[in-house]
């Protein structure tokens, strides 16, 4: 039981329940197949505080919160709400327990009004009119109290993301949530919208609500939270008072001191500039700027590593260069400008220009899983003369070529008739890599080359990338794994919120500094 601090002298039952933590998790574990997403997690979230949970992508933050909101069932462990052990099998139970959740991807009905979204699932009775009237009154009150102004009759699809997020918060408050969980709430917001959100959150806290803020941005944690818990690789590594910690300490706890993967390599022999990117900008369909004036250069015979927490623009960078997303700005390859919009900006034109692309998500962009290995090794190059026979596909050439590639890249099993989905992650990646590297590109774009790949294959893939570099090719590497960035890069550019925060060479910097830059803090300021 919690110690009674504020109410010393009169420890009534009410005071006791008042000071019991809003949420306590004891020994929560959750595995998806062989992946342990949460390992024996225990945490106490005090009532009336803003509690930050910070960690890299894939650290298990979202899984933990999904368990708390009844989306997943934990394999082991207990959830205590206000000191009482509570079972949360579904969202309904979470709502009853007073938990409200603002998902990273909003759960709103686009063509409904704000009012309709707020009452959905929490209607007063079988008929809508009284529910809508009540919600309208409540919305007016909440708007006054917490600066949560939203036009109740506006359609969601006509609102900006900041407004949509307010609707999500209003939904939770309408359901009388005492505990509000926000998953990466500022990912889609402009800085001023984010400031406004934090004002709202502080107001809610001062009213006695408990807020859990999940983020990977250190600055937000330092600005707005009272306590902070750090997650790393499915484990809760520490819980500290925000006032008693520093960004540097948090960055260390978040990234951890991992054993570096060593790759034997000689110093790079950079040649002429192959890729030059100037003032590159991308705005997504919601009007949010994903890339804000990116400038960088990659020379022949060097690897430029782009480090960053996923979702900060590195995917968009690869997609623009790979001919998937349109952008504005200037990009030149060996001095020749590339089209960034229009029909000449597609993947085929990029390949003809000499760019090969190993995409971040091989299942979505790199392979067609239901097609055979030999079909997959032809994609993107299926119209090259050596794969065609007039208007027909030269299947024999494709298969022979695939067999050679499988042997050279040690793809197992070396059977070109197997469907892409029947290979392991590492072998799938080798198929993509073989396809892209063996065309002898001037520039290789490679995203998360070893995501979901076993140790042996990681080494092999790293070795191949170094060989390609030594053959005088330019490589742009995007990875969220700092180890990999350190092991492969000759120069490291850190991307945060669509901007390059700075460039370092691996021997000038360390993981702590990069971790801080990745979290939006200026590394030099420490």
């Amino acid at each position: 039981m919690a110690t009674v601090t504020q109410t010393e002298g009169r420890p009534s039952a009410a005071a006791l329940s008042q000071t019991a933590p809003a949420i306590e998790l004891r020994g929560i574990s959750k595995a998806f197949g062989a992946v342990q997403a949460n390992k024996d997690i225990s945490i106490r979230v005090e009532r009336g505080t803003i509690h930050g949970i910070i960690g890299e992508n894939g650290a298990g933050k979202s899984t933990l919160m999904s368990i708390l909101y009844g989306f997943y069932k934990a394999d082991a462990g207990d959830i205590l709400i206000g000191g009482t052990k509570t079972d949360i099998p579904d969202s309904q139970a979470a709502i009853r327990a007073g938990i409200g959740m603002v998902f990273q991807h909003f759960k709103l009905v686009e063509n409904f009004t704000v009012l309709e979204n707020v009452v959905l699932g929490a209607e007063e009775g079988a008929f809508l009119r009284p529910s809508l009237a009540k919600a309208r009154r409540l919305l007016v009150d909440l708007a006054r109290e917490y600066e949560l102004n939203v036009d109740p009759d506006a359609k969601i699809e006509d609102l900006g993301v900041g407004m949509q997020q307010r609707v999500e918060i209003l939904k939770a408050l309408y359901r009388q949530a005492d505990i509000l969980i926000l998953d990466e709430p500022t990912g889609v917001l402009t800085p001023s919208e984010a400031d406004h959100l934090f004002r709202i959150l502080r107001g809610l806290r001062d009213e006695g609500k408990t807020i859990i803020l999940i983020t990977h941005k250190l600055r937000e944690i330092m600005d707005v939270t009272d306590n902070v818990s750090v997650m790393r690789r499915g484990e809760m590594t520490a819980t500290v008072k925000t006032a008693e910690t520093s960004p540097t300490e948090l960055a260390e706890l978040m990234v951890g001191r991992k054993v570096l993967l060593r790759v034997d390599k000689t110093p790079a022999q950079p040649g002429p500039v192959v890729l030059k990117v100037e003032n590159l900008r991308v705005t997504d369909e919601n009007g949010v700027e994903r890339l804000r004036s990116i400038n960088l250069e990659v020379r022949a015979g060097e690897i430029l590593g782009v480090a960053g927490v996923a979702g900060n623009g590195q995917s968009e960078l690869l997609e623009v260069l790979g001919g998937i997303t349109e952008a504005t700005g200037t990009v030149t390859l060996n001095g020749h400008p590339l089209q960034l919009s229009g029909p000449e900006s597609d993947g085929r034109s990029r390949r003809q220009a000499g760019i090969a692309h190993v995409p971040e998500d091989r299942h979505r962009l790199g392979l067609i899983l239901d097609f055979t290995a030999w079909e997959n090794t032809g994609f993107g190059y299926q119209d090259r003369p050596d794969y065609t026979n007039g208007a027909l596909m030269n299947q024999h050439a494709l298969r022979t070529d695939t067999e050679g590639k499988m042997e050279r890249f040690d793809v197992r099993p070396a059977n070109c008739w197997l469907h892409a989905k029947s290979f392991s992650g590492g072998n799938q990646q080798k198929i993509v890599l073989a396809r892209e590297i063996e065309r002898n590109p001037d520039l290789l774009l490679v995203g998360q080359p070893t995501r979901g790949v076993d140790i042996g294959a990681i080494e092999f893939i790293h070795q191949r990338l170094i060989e390609l570099r030594d053959a005088g090719k330019a490589i742009l590497l995007v990875s969220v794994e700092l180890d990999e960035i350190f092991a492969l890069s000759d120069r490291i550019a850190v991307i945060f919120d669509g901007r390059i925060m700075g460039e370092r060479t691996p021997d000038q910097t360390d993981e702590t500094e990069l971790g801080m830059m990745m979290a939006g803090m200026d590394g030099k300021a420490r």
Partner: protein
Amino acid sequence: MDYATLIQLLDSTLRLATPLLFACLAGLFSERAGIFDIGLEGKMLAAAFFSAAAAAMTGNVWIGLLAGTAASLSLAALHGLASITFKGNQLISGVAINFLASGLTVLVGQTWFQLGGRTPSLTGPSRFQEITLPFADALEPVPVIGPLYATVLSGHTILVYVGLLAVPVTWYILFRTRFGLRLRAVGENPGAVDTAGVSVVRLRYSAVLICGLLCGLAGAYLSTGLSAGFVKEMSAGRGFIALAALIFAKWRPWYALSACLLFGLLEALGNRFQSLEILGVTLPTQFMQALPYILTVVILAGFVGKAIPPRAGGEAYAKER
């Protein structure tokens, strides 16, 4: 065309629009909840057969109606099982139901009645009787209004009036009740419904069963109201026409009424005028009778404005992070 002809034309428009209207509203409930249903046709056909068969055997049209509705509901439950519980492909399930109904009705019909897949002709209480609305006879002599009331509005079977009443009722349920709000939400974003603590599965099953009920009424009307007995393939593509009407109506109940009346009018025109001379060109019978189908193609090809279907339509709901 004289006034008497026009009145007759409108009268038969209303009759012919009724099965379309039931089917269209059935599809509206299902698709608004995110479940595509191209099995309207099959459900209608099965209901038509079992209504006629039960009515023929018992001599009571109400038992016929019950049997037909039960048949349609079973097929609807099957569609629900395939597309909601087992997350199967909704189009394929619908196609399967159409084939099942098409074969089953003829096979069972032949086994039971030995009339080549027909049911015996229905007479008297084994068929829905025409209802004369109050004062119809008294008002008939009044010019213009009289025939409109006495012939067009009065003198239909109960199901025609139920169909007309179903339009405002559907509108009210959809836009003024909690169930309607949730139903529309689940067709747009089931994730929002799920996280709001409402069961997606239960909502979608309700919608599919309402769809089954309405298809049952459509089928029963076909064989025991519009005609006097079941004949092979008597739904004649009306389920598909109803789907076209649904798209034309942009998934809205009042528009659905207008769309169905339009299709009914075209069918009535085809029946009334075996050939029509326009500007010296004689349109053949076949063309006249093909009118509703031609309009269907035109609508489905997207010539009539842009219709935005429910956004989560056709997709099974799976929880994600």
